[in-house]
Amino acid sequence: MKVRLVVNGTPHELNLDTRTSLLDALREHLHLTGTKKGCDHGQCGACTVLVDGVRINSCLTLAVMHEGDRVTTIEGLGTPERLHPMQAAFVRHDGYQCGYCTPGQICSAIAVLDEINEGIPSHVTERLDGAPELSADELRERMTGNVCRCGAYSNIVDAISEIAGSRA
């Protein structure tokens, strides 16, 4: 089945088996291997990408369900020469060890700051009738869908906090 995707600004037309997940379309068909396959069941967050600016697990969605959608992967955020500020912050704060979960963490982190900016509350937001705060507790709760087996969590929160501070 044919599907058109705009990935990191570039339009693609793919002919895919209906079973192909968005993750497999990115990795196996477009050879964008920055997005990682961890659990392949929506539990670990390694496959997190942005679709029309919203973070999702690319393993739990079919590519054919994304006709015309704009997908942003880690490759679309920055390059080794020109890192995205969130990528640079992860490097500065040592927000990883093996690095396998990192592309998902970074995509998720960028979306988390947008979600807070839009006023979307979280489980730890104290008052629902106002805007959520930009606290470490908020960042930790909002990043729970990204698991890091190396346990770089405290440095990840530091990296996101730095970028959040520079945005505020």
Binding site: T18, D40, G42, T61, M65, P121, S122, R142
Partner: protein
């Protein structure tokens, strides 16, 4: 994953009709639960009907002062809507306590109601499970059952419904709006929507084959303190051991439903008259007839203690 054909539906009635003409077909919206189950071949629909183009993604006021939540409104959008946060805070809290940010962005209102149990034996295709394979037996009874049901269970199944959102909707007396293949619409009360397992644990809702959820309707707000308290093995991103959804009024009256204990959100209206007398009195009626296993008998105590904490919070 088994192969399947795929189509995008253009209208709710067309989607319902397509389902009738393709036996075994499934609707797909967010897909976060269905695709997970298809990868494990627990679900193997020969045909998928993508309903994402149906435009059922708005939250609109109803004539009697409530809200009509389109079936495709994501869990994130529903929890972020200021009308929900102010007038139905219980629902926002329940949604935000479930899953992860990524999953809530994809998961829909209708899909959340239709998600399947997380009973480990339902997921383990090497084990008998009456829900997955009717008549094969229940491995959970006599198995590891810490997470599983304590009330409304049967000899065939002790699975629980995993949704937090559904617990809030039950407390709020929401209704599920549907369209059937012949084009007729109906509304089903949340009290009736999910079924107890009985002899047919594979039949989980009132929905007829091909019937499509189009919206969830919230009645006029009832005020009061809205509290959703979820007790789980981790602080976040885990299913409930037990959860309590409650609305408590200033005079101590109120409503309460329990998640994590049954095949559906567990609410016994007759127990709510005991609310002014405290958690123990409520639970004597709410959990009357419970049949916990050795592994999950703690849930009986946990429900009472969690309700006590909720009632203390409501007073505070």
């Amino acid at each position: 994953m088994r192969s399947f054909s795929y189509e995008r539906a253009a209208s709710p009635a067309q989607a319902a009709e397509a389902a009738i003409h393709n036996p075994g077909a499934k609707f797909i919206a967010g897909g976060t639960n269905l695709l997970d189950l298809m990868k494990l071949q627990i679900e193997a629909p020969p045909h998928l009907i993508d309903v994402n183009g149906l435009g059922l993604d708005e939250i609109t006021p109803t004539e009697d002062g409530g809200l009509r939540v389109g079936a495709l409104v994501s869990n994130t959008r529903l929890a972020a809507d200021m009308r929900i946060r102010c007038d139905y805070a219980l629902l926002a809290r329940a949604l935000l306590s479930g899953a992860s940010g990524q999953l809530r962005n994809k998961a829909t209102t209708a899909g959340n109601l239709l998600q399947r149990t997380r009973c480990p034996y339902f997921y383990d295709t090497a084990q008998p499970c009456n829900k997955r394979q009717p008549g094969s037996g229940c491995s959970a009874i006599g198995g590891v059952s810490r997470q599983l049901g304590v009330i409304g269970t049967s000899e065939a199944c002790i699975a629980t419904h995993p949704s937090d959102m559904a617990v809030a909707l039950r407390v709020l007396d929401a209704e599920v709006e549907t369209v059937r293949a012949d084009g007729t619409c109906r509304r089903i009360a949340m009290a009736d929507f999910h079924l107890l397992p009985g002899d047919t644990p594979h039949i989980e809702t009132m929905l007829e084959p091909g019937e499509l959820i189009t919206a969830v309707v919230l009645p006029h707000p009832v005020g009061g303190r809205h509290i959703y308290r979820k007790v789980r093995d981790r602080a976040s991103y885990a299913f409930a051991l037990v959860s309590i959804g409650a609305i408590v009024q200033p005079d101590g009256s109120g409503r309460v439903a329990v998640g994590g204990v049954a095949h559906k959100p567990w609410r016994v209206e007759a127990a709510e008259s005991e609310l002014p007398r405290g958690a123990q009195s409520v639970c004597e009626r709410l959990l009357a007839g419970a049949r916990p296993t050795r592994d999950n008998a703690f849930k009986i105590t946990l429900v009472e203690r969690t309700l006590r904490a909720v009632l203390n919070e409501a007073r505070g």
